[in-house]
Symmetry: C2
Subunit: 350 residues, 2 copies
């Protein structure tokens, strides 16, 4: 019997619980913990988790996998508190929107023999909380996997398996890449949305603006309704990247201001707008191929038999997951073959 613990039962933690429940993993107990006892009790009653614990220490002891889904800044304390109580070979993952600090805290506070593999499901809603949780929240969403240097391939596989079970598209990044890219496509959009709403709200013409506003204003200010704690943690733990992209964004706005100010006939501005439309429609139709970094993952080498079982069992449930697994297998075999070729070359050279 494996034990999988979810720490933090908000929108993300709760949705992971529901996603796991839907997948019906065999021989696995899903345990939940939350500082808010009422939320924890509700999670158990509504079947989001099968069991709850009276303390974080109890919740994680003997767990084969721990998923930390608390606010980012709290993770430091969570790692510190649970560190001494984790069993050797346990896999720890998280769901934070930034990864640099989280990986540093994991390195500092999680004991040797525990495998930390960062995770960031690119999904969410502006309304947080357990009552908003849903099993399908991660369906077809990107799920960034950011392994720590100490994590064994089997532990990485387990988190990839988790992402797949939830229906997400796992993909690998290192922490620096993750935080730089997430600043551009997630944290900057959040900031543009907050600023847009604030600007209008603080105008003396607000009653008129609000009444005149249509779906464009509503959609583009959606993220301004996000949890302030989450936004705050994101901006603080990814400060430099956010400021960098914000600076570039202001530059881009100024470029458009110049185009608008100088436009006479259907010239540069029009061409730029037409290009934008085409490029965005291409983006909607098909994601560009990314140069996949070598995964460095050998599939059947997980240190922990529970994890093999968990991922193995769950993968059988989903044809799509199976296809991804096969693709990974292919890549791993290709990498192994290239390695053999390289070694042979070295043999010859020597």
């Amino acid at each position: 019997m494996g034990k999988l613990t979810i720490v933090g039962l908000g929108l993300i933690g709760g949705s992971i619980g529901l996603g796991l429940k839907r997948a019906q993993p065999e021989n696995t107990e899903v345990v939940g913990f939350d500082l808010d006892r009422e939320v924890m009790t509700r999670a158990q009653r509504s079947g989001v988790v099968q069991a709850i614990a009276s303390s974080l220490e109890e919740a994680v002891s003997d767990a084969t996998m721990v998923i930390v889904a608390t606010p980012i800044v709290s993770m430091r304390k969570v790692f510190q508190t649970m560190g001494p109580h984790l069993r050797r070979g346990a896999v720890v993952t998280d769901t934070a929107s930034t990864k640099g600090d989280v990986l540093r805290w994991a390195d500092e506070f999680l004991p040797e023999g525990v495998h930390f593999v960062g995770g960031h499901p690119m999904a969410g809603k502006e309304q947080q909380g357990l009552h908003m949780a849903e099993a399908g929240l991660f369906e077809d969403r990107p799920y960034a996997i950011v392994p720590s240097v100490r994590a064994l391939p089997g532990a990485v596989n387990a988190v990839v398996g988790l992402a797949q079970v939830l229906g997400a598209r796992p993909f690998f990044l290192d922490a620096d890449e993750h935080d730089a890219y997430a600043a551009a496509v997630s944290h900057l959009p959040l900031l543009t949305s907050v600023a847009l709403f604030n600007l209008a709200r603080k105008s003396t013409a607000w009653p008129e603006l609000a009444n005149l506003s249509g779906p464009a204003f509503r959609d583009l200010t959606r993220l301004a309704s996000g949890e302030p704690e989450m936004s705050h943690d994101i901006f603080l733990t990814n400060r430099e990247n956010v400021l960098h992209w914000l600076d570039r964004y202001i530059g881009e706005l100024q470029r458009f201001a110049e185009l608008i100010a100088s436009e006479k006939e259907d010239e540069t501005l029009f061409r730029s707008l037409a290009e934008t439309q085409i490029e965005r429609n291409i983006f909607l139709e098909k994601l560009p191929r990314r140069d996949d970094p070598a995964l460095g993952v050998e599939l059947p080498s997980s240190a922990d038999s529970f994890l093999q079982m968990l991922t193995g069992t769950l993968w059988q449930e989903r044809q799509r997951a199976k296809e991804i697994t096969e693709a990974m297998q292919e890549r791993a075999e290709k990498a192994a073959w290239e390695e053999r070729v390289r070694r042979r070359k070295l043999d010859i050279d020597e």
Copy 2:
């Protein structure tokens, strides 16, 4: 038999046609015209309009109401061409996203005895075209009504009635107010969306960014898929207001940059984010009351009996429309009463 002509059968013109069809106005023929003959034929075949015409002149002759739903910059030419063929007493309205230039063109090219009442339904989709049209597009959306100084109250009522038939929330603004406010809640959001997509798209990391991007990036760049012609016309015909609000927006972004750069503990930035969340949720729950400018509308004084019939008949269809009518009646009575008081005072003063 009244004749209502829609000029331009794209998303907006087509949706107006379908909205009118759903309301089943009696004794009214809806005629459509589009420069694209194929679009026009499709509109007739699919019942968006009941009849089509071989020329703009033919389409508008004898029309009691003409709705111009072409691209903004084309309206100048449309007014110029159709002006001499309009019957005396006809009501002309439009659907352009900016109003200053359109009202000037109407003043210049529409003959005396024709009533121009600008309109701007705050609804749309990034995908344009007749095939995207739907009867419910304007449902519960604001519909700005911007009467020309020459328009008789009855003509204004007819356009208010049109907005109500489409299920929209009509409200009055003058052209300057409209363009200033629309710049803030519609044209600036468009620009922020276009710039955000462009910034990411032009980054060398685009393949990574696109693959990592979740719903936030997708929603906030939605308007970047808008028709370039429409965006271009908006920016050109509302240049000063757009640049003014863009400037203020950059200022607001810089204010947040400073908050992020200087944030130590949960202080100013956190409070600002928390306030934003509260204010946006208030906005979603209930629109702020606006100080309604005196409407100056006396309901049963329309010059044209068709318009009375059209609006009268249609209003009976909708309880909500009836309520709005009653509210307008109340305001009109209040205004009349105040006018009597004012006159009496003048009598006394004299």
